[in-house]
């Protein structure tokens, strides 16, 4: 490999050697310290070999003496290649010109892309960019992106974060807008739920109820002041109740663990079972899964394989003690209660009341007491509740 590169670098000739006793001729050449390689035998008086470009002229005295003929067949290597290129000056200048233009084109700004705009008009940004000195065809090197970022942040108030970066010849601008706090809406404050008011703090407006009052949902709590705004915190005690019921005996389905699988073929709408067709258990749970044999795009054969999994089940009658039944009834009631509550509400206390307690079943009522903010802004107050 290295010798090949060396030969290419120095430049070499493929020569045809003609004459008598060529073996000795080659020996003489090598004796002169000239390197020959790839010597091929063509006929007894015709050999082909490779020789370095500079060594070729050294052969001349020997050729005169020996009456041998040497003819160049091919010129190879870098020196010859350069010579060829020199002849094609225009091609070379074309290539160089292309590279220069390419490099120049790649170092200019060609387009802008703005992302992340929601409320700000794109034209506002573009105008600000122009003021910052960005225009089409400007050299990328001349722009200091960090400076432009700062300029835009100063100029446009609604931007909270901006990032400029290059993507080839395109300038990508990422913008995050400021979220402006919405002004307080005008209206009155009404109760969102029924309850007894425990705490009433009026921030704006005038209260029409006082602590200890019982209010119903939708009742007016705070009237707006002169500027039409009403704000306040109204905490109230609220009750939730639910009834839970549980019988002392219950049927429970239990898997026995036994399982059998049958397979079959479904042709059209007809099920053809392979092997046994009767269910293997008295009481069972059946799971049937289908699998299409051939499916491609929306073409499919009307034949499907199916699998039937029979799981044996045992039905057990369970008897609860009085305490167990009570617990289950409470659990059911609590589940019903919790579904009524909003997230993040603190439960103050829980009461329970047994409504019915017989031999067969138990019923109880569960009441929970919470304290929550029931202040709710009702817009567009027209004077009526």
């Amino acid at each position: 490999m290295i010798t090949k590169i060396l030969h290419y670098w120095k430049g070499y000739l493929k020569i045809d050697i003609r004459g008598n006793a060529l073996g000795r001729f080659i020996s003489q050449i090598s004796d002169m310290g000239i390197l020959l390689w790839k010597i091929e035998y063509l006929t007894y008086d015709n050999y082909r070999a490779c020789i370095h470009k500079d060594d070729y002229n050294k052969l001349r005295p020997l050729l005169r003496k020996r009456k041998c003929q040497v003819r160049i067949i091919e010129k190879r290597g870098l020196p010859f290649f350069l010579l060829k290129i020199r002849k094609r000056l225009f091609l070379l200048t074309g290539i160089i010109l292309f590279l220069v233009i390419f490099q120049l084109g790649a170092s200019l700004l060609w387009s802008c892309e703005i992302t992340g705009l929601e409320n700000i008009e794109e034209e506002v940004i573009i105008k600000a960019l122009k003021e910052a000195g960005i225009r089409k065809g400007i050299l990328k090197k001349e722009l200091d992106l960090r400076k432009i970022e700062n300029y835009l942040l100063q100029e446009i108030n609604a931007i909270s974060w901006i990032d400029l970066r290059w993507q080839g010849t395109r300038l990508c601008i990422d913008i995050v807008e400021k979220r402006l706090v919405e002004p307080v809406e005008k209206g009155t404050i009404v109760a969102s739920k029924d309850g007894i008011i425990t705490k009433l703090i009026v921030l704006k407006g005038q209260a029409v109820v006082k602590e200890g009052d019982t209010v119903t949902a939708g009742q007016l709590l705070i009237l707006p002041g002169k500027d039409g705004e009403a704000r306040g915190i109204v905490k109230a005690e609220i009750w939730y109740e639910a009834v839970g019921e549980s019988s002392f005996t219950e049927r429970v389905i239990v898997n026995s663990g036994k399982q059998k699988t049958y397979r079959g073929v479904k042709i059209g709408d007809k099920l053809v079972q392979l092997g046994k067709t009767t269910p293997p258990f008295d009481q069972y749970r059946l799971k049937r899964t289908f699998k299409k044999i051939f499916e491609w795009r929306n073409i499919s054969l009307p034949i499907e394989l199916f699998k039937e999994e029979y799981q044996e089940i045992i039905i057990i009658e369970m008897n609860y003690t009085a305490a167990g039944g009570l617990f289950r009834a409470k659990e059911k009631a609590l589940a019903g209660l919790l579904s009524q509550l909003d997230d993040g509400i603190i439960i103050n206390s829980i009461y329970q009341e047994v409504l019915e307690s017989g031999d067969e079943k138990i019923r109880l009522r569960l009441i929970i007491k919470t304290e929550e903010n029931i202040a709710c802004l009702k817009e567009d107050f027209s004077g009526r509740n």
């Binding site: 073996g23 080659i26 390689w37 790839k38 010597i39 035998y41 070999a49």
Partner: protein, 94 residues
């Protein structure tokens, strides 16, 4: 003189190919042969190459033989090598 040289080599355990200018062959499988200390080519064909060495010839037969490199001291033969023969002529065997 040669006798003296041989004695010298034996005593100092030197490589004889360097001191005595004797041929050194290296064969890679059957397709490449390197030969150092040759005295020129006396005959070259694609089936047979006869290389002059000190005290004789080395004859290589094969198919598609070519001399892939030759300079003053060494040469390399490539192609399918079938046999290598040593032919002694003149002088004492080392």
């Amino acid at each position: 003189m040669d006798k003296l040289k041989r004695q010298f080599i034996r005593v100092f355990e030197l490589p004889p190919d360097i001191i005595m200018d004797l041929p050194l062959l290296m064969l890679v499988a059957d397709n490449k042969l390197y030969l150092e200390n040759h005295k020129g080519i006396s005959y070259f064909q694609s089936e047979e190459i006869k290389i002059k060495i000190k005290y004789g010839f080395i004859i290589i037969t094969g198919r598609n033989l070519s001399i892939s490199e030759i300079n003053r001291e060494s040469l390399a033969v490539s192609g399918k090598i079938l046999s290598i023969t040593y032919e002694q002529r003149g002088g004492d065997r080392p």
